[in-house]
């Protein structure tokens, strides 16, 4: 269980850090804004190959952080619980 916790935490923090850096470039007009990091894409974000790659990676990192944490903290432990419950039920019969 501890292993799965640290995997989820590592994914959340590591991937979240990468998202933070990219979103600070492409979705932040000002660090005094209350919508920083979640604003619409800044102008010129889809011009040029590197910008397109970075904007794509930004979404990839965000969803990897969210889904990775969800997977290791919720889905996999729930799967283990279901498997052990099924095992118990099978042994009881």
């Amino acid at each position: 269980m501890a292993d799965e916790f640290i995997k989820g935490l590592g994914i959340l923090t590591g991937s979240g850090l990468a998202w933070l850096v990219l979103a600070s470039w492409y979705r932040t007009s000002s660090f005094e804004s209350t919508q920083q990091l979640i604003e619409p894409l800044s102008s010129g974000a889809t011009e040029g190959l590197f910008n397109i790659i970075a904007v794509t990676l930004m979404d990839v990192f965000l969803w990897f952080a969210l889904l990775g944490a969800l997977t290791f903290w919720v889905l996999i432990p729930a799967g283990h619980q279901i498997m052990s419950a099924l095992e118990e039920r099978r042994n009881a019969q």
Binding site: V21, S24, Q35
Partner: protein, 254 residues
């Protein structure tokens, strides 16, 4: 390990060869009770730790110390260096990768729209924004007993006073949160309240409804405190707290 030692002297991981001290040798029924699972694992772990400690004491160059701790060099120093390296690396990483933010130069002749203290004083600043809690008394014809700013300053006194009283209410003899779930919950309540009251201090910048923010400021500490209490109470059962009370009460020798 030197070469002339026999092969079978290797440390075995199956728990065989562990010897209980004479005055604590478990009875056969006790051994049977902790035969499987976590209880067995815990038993073997502490028995092995005790045996390794005993082996260490029998070594000729072992110096008996009256303080149970790790030595400063190398353990603590390497640990602290690694932590310091992590934070220095994080600062370098963020300053190298994030876009520079250079605001307009400060204008000393005009007051900025948003005035804030340093972040670690936000909690105190937030206590000055408790206007809705300042009661309006019917006997005064709906007037307030004291000004909102006076009320905010007195609120600071209440918080500081409570923090000052805590050491007298609880002597702090617990070494783990599971030992005193209630006081752990009080601690979590305080930490969460410090965070929520700090967020109330910057309500101008919070992208949410101010009334909701005000309610959450006082609701969330109770929620998290209750959750902490429930979790620690549950963990006590998981640790078999009553069975292992003697271990959890262990203190370093005086």
């Amino acid at each position: 390990m030197s070469d002339n030692e026999p092969e079978n002297e290797e440390i075995r991981s199956d728990g065989a060869g562990i010897v209980a001290p004479d005055d604590e040798t478990p009875t056969w029924s006790e051994r049977k009770a902790r035969k499987t699972g976590l209880s067995r694992l815990t038993y073997e772990y502490f028995e092995r730790a005790r045996r390794e400690d005993q082996d260490l004491r029998t070594e000729s160059d072992y110096v008996e110390r009256d303080v149970l701790a790790f030595p400063t060099w190398p353990h603590e120093t390497v640990r602290n260096l690694s932590i310091a390296s992590f934070f220095v690396g994080m600062i370098l990483f963020l300053s190298a990768t994030m876009p520079p933010h250079i605001g307009n130069p400060a204008n000393p002749s005009s007051t900025p729209a948003i005035i804030l203290p340093d972040w670690y004083l936000y909690w105190s600043f937030g206590l000055l924004k408790l206007n809705p809690l300042n009661p309006e008394l019917a006997i005064l014809g709906g007037q307030k007993l004291m000004a909102d700013r006076t009320y905010g300053v007195l609120a600071n006194g209440v918080v500081v006073g409570f923090i000052a009283i805590v050491p007298f209410l609880n002597k702090g003899s617990a070494r783990r949160p599971v030992e005193q779930p209630f006081w752990s919950a009080v601690g979590v309540f305080g930490v969460v309240f410090a965070m929520t009251i700090s967020l109330l201090a910057i309500k101008n910048l919070m992208p949410m409804n101010v009334d909701l923010l005000f309610d959450l400021t006082f609701l969330l500490p109770f929620v998290f405190g209750t959750i902490t209490y429930a979790i620690l109470k549950t963990m006590r059962e998981g640790y078999m707290y009553n069975l292992n009370r003697r271990y959890y009460r262990l203190r370093p020798p005086k």
